[in-house]
């Protein structure tokens, strides 16, 4: 079984989350017509692309900050 290195694992994780989210982002509001107010998602679809990219960015940013704190503690 191939072993993924850290950066490859990060890429794969991003691929999986984006791939799993896109159909939802596309399909959920597909039949909502002209008004977001009439949809149970209530315009939440606006936030989906931003949330996905934001979540990924935040996850790795937090990891980076965490490792910096650990470095300082170790020193």
């Amino acid at each position: 079984m191939p072993v993924l290195r850290g950066k490859e694992r990060r890429g794969l994780w991003a691929f999986v989350i984006a791939g799993a989210t896109t159909p939802l982002a596309l399909v959920i509001p597909a039949s909502c017509g002209a008004a977001c107010g009439g949809c149970p998602v209530a315009g939440g679809c606006f936030a989906v692309p931003a949330l996905v990219v934001g979540m990924v960015a935040l996850r790795f940013r937090l990891q980076e900050i965490g490792s910096r704190i650990l470095d300082v503690v170790r020193q």
Binding site: K7, E8, R10, G11, L12, W13, A14, F15, V16, I17, A18, G19, A20, T21, T22, P23, A25, L26, V27, P29, A30, S31, C32, G33, A34, A35, C36, C39, G43, C45, F46, P49, A50, V52, V53, G54, V56, A57, F60
Partner: protein
């Protein structure tokens, strides 16, 4: 680098992007106009004549027969072949959709700390191909009628949004009836999230453009054969990070190498590097 200096150094690309608007977007749409004239088509030429998305949707949705004789399919194949030999120059130098979001991003005086930039190209690449896989999944679901939903390909089309914005600005009242929730989501994702709030303003191109993904896959294949690409010379580098800051598609890795899965050969890195570490050419 000051804004004036950036404009001066990249003037040919910016002029080319302005030209791209007139070449592809109606009512000008010079290329579509020429094609329509040559084929005797009486329809008014628009950006939609050379749609970036529908042929991809047809291909994966089992309607490949619609590609035969389609001007849009021929255009997409042309762009992909060009990317194979020369890199994604259409994306970097001509695409009106990318140029508008990049222009909006550059013209908005928002400090960089409020803009998103993913530093690891592996993550950007993962997101890009993930969203593309999602686009294919939706094409399959719709094309093979796995779920009873109407096509979402045109519902989230930046080309349509741009064309209708241009129509509205040139006084065509039909553009008013176009706006629906899908187009508003697209407008918001394209110009606000992907444009203003993403560094470089190419968020839509990076994550949601199927033609961009196909162009970069083609470019990567061409690069492996030694065709035109951006190359980096580590010996000249002073580690000033100007290249990473100016790259609109976040294609430059922390080690300064250029990722061909993201690069649009815009050559902003070449023009921003004081040492000339980046070159466009064949190996």
């Amino acid at each position: 680098m000051t804004a004036i200096e950036t404009i001066r150094k990249n003037r040919w690309r910016y002029l080319s992007l302005v030209l791209g608007f007139f070449l592809f977007v109606g009512p000008f749409a010079i290329i579509a106009r020429m094609i329509n004239t040559a084929t005797g088509n009486m329809a008014s030429p628009t950006l939609h004549t050379l749609c970036y998305r529908m042929p991809v949707d047809w291909l994966f949705g089992g309607r490949w027969y619609a590609l035969i004789g389609s001007v849009a399919a021929a255009f997409i194949i042309g762009v992909i072949i060009l990317a194979f030999f020369m890199g994604p120059v259409f994306c970097g130098w001509l695409c009106p959709v990318g140029s508008v979001s990049e222009g909006v991003s550059r013209a908005t005086p928002l400090p960089d700390r409020f803009r998103l930039r993913i530093r690891d190209p592996q993550v950007t690449k993962g997101l890009r191909y993930g969203f593309f896989a999602g686009f294919i999944a939706v094409s399959v679901i719709v094309g093979y009628k796995i779920a009873s939903i109407s096509s979402v390909c045109c519902r989230y089309c930046t080309s349509s949004v741009l064309q209708n914005m241009a129509d509205g600005l040139t006084g065509q009242m039909s553009a008013v009836a176009y706006w629906h929730s899908g187009s508003l989501v697209t407008l918001f994702s394209w110009l606000v999230i992907g444009g203003i709030f993403m560094s470089g303003g190419r968020g839509w191109c990076l994550f949601f453009c199927p033609l961009g993904v196909l162009s970069n896959l083609s470019h990567t294949a061409g690069k492996k054969l030694g065709l035109y690409r951006m190359s980096y010379n580590a010996d000249k580098c002073l580690d000033c990070t100007h290249c990473q800051v100016t790259c609109p598609t976040w294609a430059i890795a922390p080690d300064k190498s250029v990722d061909s899965h993201l690069c649009i050969t815009c050559q902003e890195c070449t023009n921003s590097c004081p040492q000339g570490s980046y070159e466009y050419g064949r190996s």
